[in-house]
Amino acid sequence: MRNRLRELRDERGWSQGALAEHADVSRQTINAIETRKYDPSLPLAFRLARVFELRIEEIFHDA
């Protein structure tokens, strides 16, 4: 699954650690999602969407 996590994070000037703190996950989780090694669960996808104030489909989409 493709995602715009890195792009959205860069727009806000956040590090992976900062985003991890906002989403209450580990920095490794953010890194794994950004590098497409790991697809987040639905609750985490909702949490990330809330952090960026976007809808899930504006962040994640099919490859």
Binding site: A20, E21, S26, Q28, T29, A32, P40, S41, L44
Partner: protein
């Protein structure tokens, strides 16, 4: 595993609880295994007490482990689940193959359950380390 300091402190505490429960279980197992010979000259009452103590601490260890897994972050849970699946799979497949080989007279050495426990533990540790490196 979470990133906030409060959550990190909680995760560290849970890991510590798991480590303590593991040490407790291994210790009481050693007591039940070697105590009869080395400590109380095969007294049945003490052997029963040691066995019941080992089972009780083992039950606590299981509960602490389940709580640890439930509290782990989803990526960490995936790493641990993959490692558990691999360790159990390798343990079962190799264990059954060695048992069959022993039954057929293909191997000379005596099979011991400790061998499988060590195999499962080593595979689990290696798989967890690889999983953590992969998502670093």
């Amino acid at each position: 595993m979470t990133a906030t300091p409060a959550s990190e402190r909680l995760a560290t505490r849970r890991t510590l609880h798991l480590a303590l429960a593991t040490v407790g279980w291994v210790g009481t197992l050693a007591l039940a295994q070697f105590g009869p010979e080395l400590l109380w000259n095969r007294g049945v009452v003490f052997s029963w007490i040691a066995l019941v103590l080992n089972l009780a601490v083992g039950a606590i260890w299981i509960l602490v482990h389940v709580r640890y897994l439930r509290a782990a972050g989803e990526l960490q849970r995936k790493v641990l689940l993959d490692a558990t699946g691999l360790a159990l799979g390798v343990g079962l497949v190799v264990g059954c193959a060695l048992t069959a080989a022993h039954g057929a007279g293909l191997i000379g050495f005596q099979l011991d359950v400790a061998l499988f426990i060590i195999l499962i533990a080593v595979v689990y540790i290696v798989a967890t380390a690889i999983g953590n490196l992969r998502y670093r």
